[in-house]
């Protein structure tokens, strides 16, 4: 049984079929990449999986036993089930400190309510706070942002902001991490570091669903690649097989006209 199972997922925007009966599954502990030309429906698929938009038909099941129906839930519920995501155009809380951004990421794993807010001296409240602080600092450290903990997120450089978004997503201790073009706009060096970090996350048992245009990032680290074009799945398989698939080459490069 796979961790994520997308079955005949369909999403229409007016007359446009953004997703047309898409099916695929993601096995636990794998890195699965979602590729395709612009407008293929990759981000729409992400939005369906994370509960941001609701698909018309089909199902998205998350978890091995008693899977949760993601196609029917809200984003905050999806986060509670163990999903975390980043966005194509970075969406940080720019006027919050770097540290607080990561702390917001732990929201779904915390329980402190009104009582703990007004009386934060109880054993449990203390423990939770310490856990949150430790976790946030550790993540900032892992992503090389520890020196910027007190800075406002909006003042970071582009590459740092991408890393902070990743730290915020990881803060919720997710089972499935969805990354929407995490390498976009990064330098060659930063892309290398990102690939290394994603492989490290994988080795720790995290499952990753990745949207990415840069094949130099996608091909070496992916275990499985799903190709979308005009809302339909045109191919899937191991990176090498997909690379040589005529349908994929056609989608990216067009048809060769003989003559």
């Amino acid at each position: 049984m796979s961790l994520l199972k997308v079955d005949r997922l369909t999403k229409r925007f007016g007359g446009v079929v953004a997703l047309d009966r898409i099916s695929f599954s993601v096995e636990r502990g794998r890195i699965v990449s979602l590729i395709g030309p612009n407008g293929a429906g990759k981000t729409t698929l992400f939005n369906c999986v994370t509960g941001v938009i609701r698909p018309e038909e089909g199902s998205i099941l998350f978890g091995e036993e008693n899977p949760d129906a993601l196609h029917r839930c809200a984003p905050h519920e999806a986060a509670r089930f163990g999903l975390a995501r980043t966005f194509q155009n970075i969406r940080l809380f720019s006027n919050m400190s770097v540290m607080d951004n990561v702390i917001v990421g732990t929201h779904a794993r915390r329980t402190a309510g009104l009582g703990e807010a007004l009386w934060p001296f109880g054993q449990e409240a203390r423990q939770e706070r310490r856990w949150v602080q430790d976790r946030a600092l550790r993540l900032l450290d892992q992503l090389g942002l520890e020196l910027f903990a007190g800075r406002l997120a909006g003042t970071l450089s582009y590459g740092q902001q991408r890393r902070l978004e990743l730290a915020r997503a990881l803060a919720s201790d997710p089972e499935l991490l969805l990354l929407d073009e995490p390498a976009a706009g990064l330098t060659y060096q930063e892309k290398q570091e990102l690939s290394g970090f994603l492989l490290e996350l994988k080795s720790r048992g995290l499952t990753i669903l990745l949207i990415e245009h840069d094949m130099k990032v996608v091909m070496p680290i992916s275990d499985w690649v799903v190709v979308l074009d005009y809302g339909a799945k045109i191919a899937e398989g191991p990176p090498k097989a997909v690379q040589d698939d005529p349908a994929v080459i056609e989608a990216y490069l067009g048809i060769r006209v003989v003559g």
Binding site: P75, A84, R85, F93, V104, G105, H107, A108, E116, L118
Partner: protein, 311 residues
């Protein structure tokens, strides 16, 4: 430390002031501080522009008035009940307005404020219509009746404002406070980080409403009468102005804002006809030169500036 002592001195001085008028002005300032703290939760923390806050104040005042007149309910029972009633009003308002944002939210809340006032005016059998309700019981503390003297009310309002201010600063630093800021900053990212946006907005409206309910109850008990014209749109705007003047989201700031805007008009009595003019000019200058308010945080200033670019 000396500053704290100075503040304490200033706060306790009025208890020895023989001038009843001055004490009454201060009691009113404390009442406004309570209202500003409540609205600050809604507008400052959660970022929901609410233009009908006076409605919650009205719900609190009328709840106590009706309970006291019809059931002889004592003030100390009426206080939590009024807060709960106004909090429930905030919650109920929240349910339908969860779907609107920004300007639309402002319009809906403005409408809500007017609806409450008009309902109270026209529900004559219950509320006495435009004539209001008379003879509401003053609080009795053991055998001491608060009566019409402003001093005990000043004391009570100080205590309430202090407790609420303390709770607000705690809230701001908690998981809840952080969730509110996240919602204000980027609702989608907040939701994807596991924050139940609707729930936290409702919480802000409920808490903000509840605090206005407290204030309303004390107001009704102090005046002994309530009439619908005490809860007009201008009151909502005044409290909002206090929050903005003091600094959105800053607990110290909004108390300061409330003090300035309730005491200044009294000091400027001789210019009373120009009051609104001066008020308007001050507001414009503030927005131009100090958008974060008198005591606002740097965070708010950046947010205000950022709006031009990113919104």
């Amino acid at each position: 430390m000396t500053r704290k002592l100075l503040i304490l001195l200033l706060v306790f001085l009025p208890f020895f002031d023989p001038n009843a008028y001055r004490v009454d002005v201060l009691a009113t300032a404390a009442l406004y501080a309570l209202l500003a703290l409540g609205l600050n939760i809604i507008v400052g923390f959660a970022g929901l522009l609410h233009l009908g806050y006076a409605a919650f104040f009205a719900v609190g005042a009328y709840t106590y008035a009706l309970l006291n007149l019809n059931l002889g309910c004592p003030f100390w029972v009426g206080l939590p009940v009024s807060a709960a009633a106004a909090g429930a009003a905030g919650f109920l308002l929240g349910l339908p307005v969860m779907r609107v944002r920004g300007d639309y939210l402002a319009i809906v809340t403005l409408g809500f404020g007017e609806i409450v006032r008009i309902v109270v005016t026209n529900l004559e059998e219950w509320t006495g219509g435009p004539n209001g309700l008379l003879g509401i019981g003053h609080p009795v503390f053991f055998s001491y009746n608060f009566g019409v003297d402003s001093k005990p009310y000043y004391g009570l309002l100080l205590v309430l404002a202090a407790v609420v201010a303390w709770a607000c600063s705690r809230l701001a630093r908690s998981r809840i406070g952080l969730a509110w800021v996240a919602i204000r900053e980027d609702e989608l990212a907040a939701e994807c980080s596991g924050i139940d946006v609707a729930r936290f907005k409702l919480l802000a409206l409920g808490l903000g409403g509840g605090i206005a309910g407290l204030a309303g109850c004390v107001f009704a008990a102090k005046q002994g009468t309530v009439t619908p014209d005490s809860f007009d749109f201008i009151l909502s705007v005044m409290v909002l102005a206090m929050v903005i003047l003091g600094g959105l989201g800053s607990v110290t700031g909004v108390i300061l804002g409330a003090a300035v805007l309730s005491i200044a008009p009294e000091l400027l009595r001789s210019f009373a006809i120009y009051r609104m003019l001066i008020f308007g000019i001050v507001m414009i200058l503030l927005i131009r030169f100090r958008p974060q308010g008198l005591w606002g945080t740097a965070q708010i200033r950046k947010e205000m500036k950022g709006r031009h670019v990113s919104a």
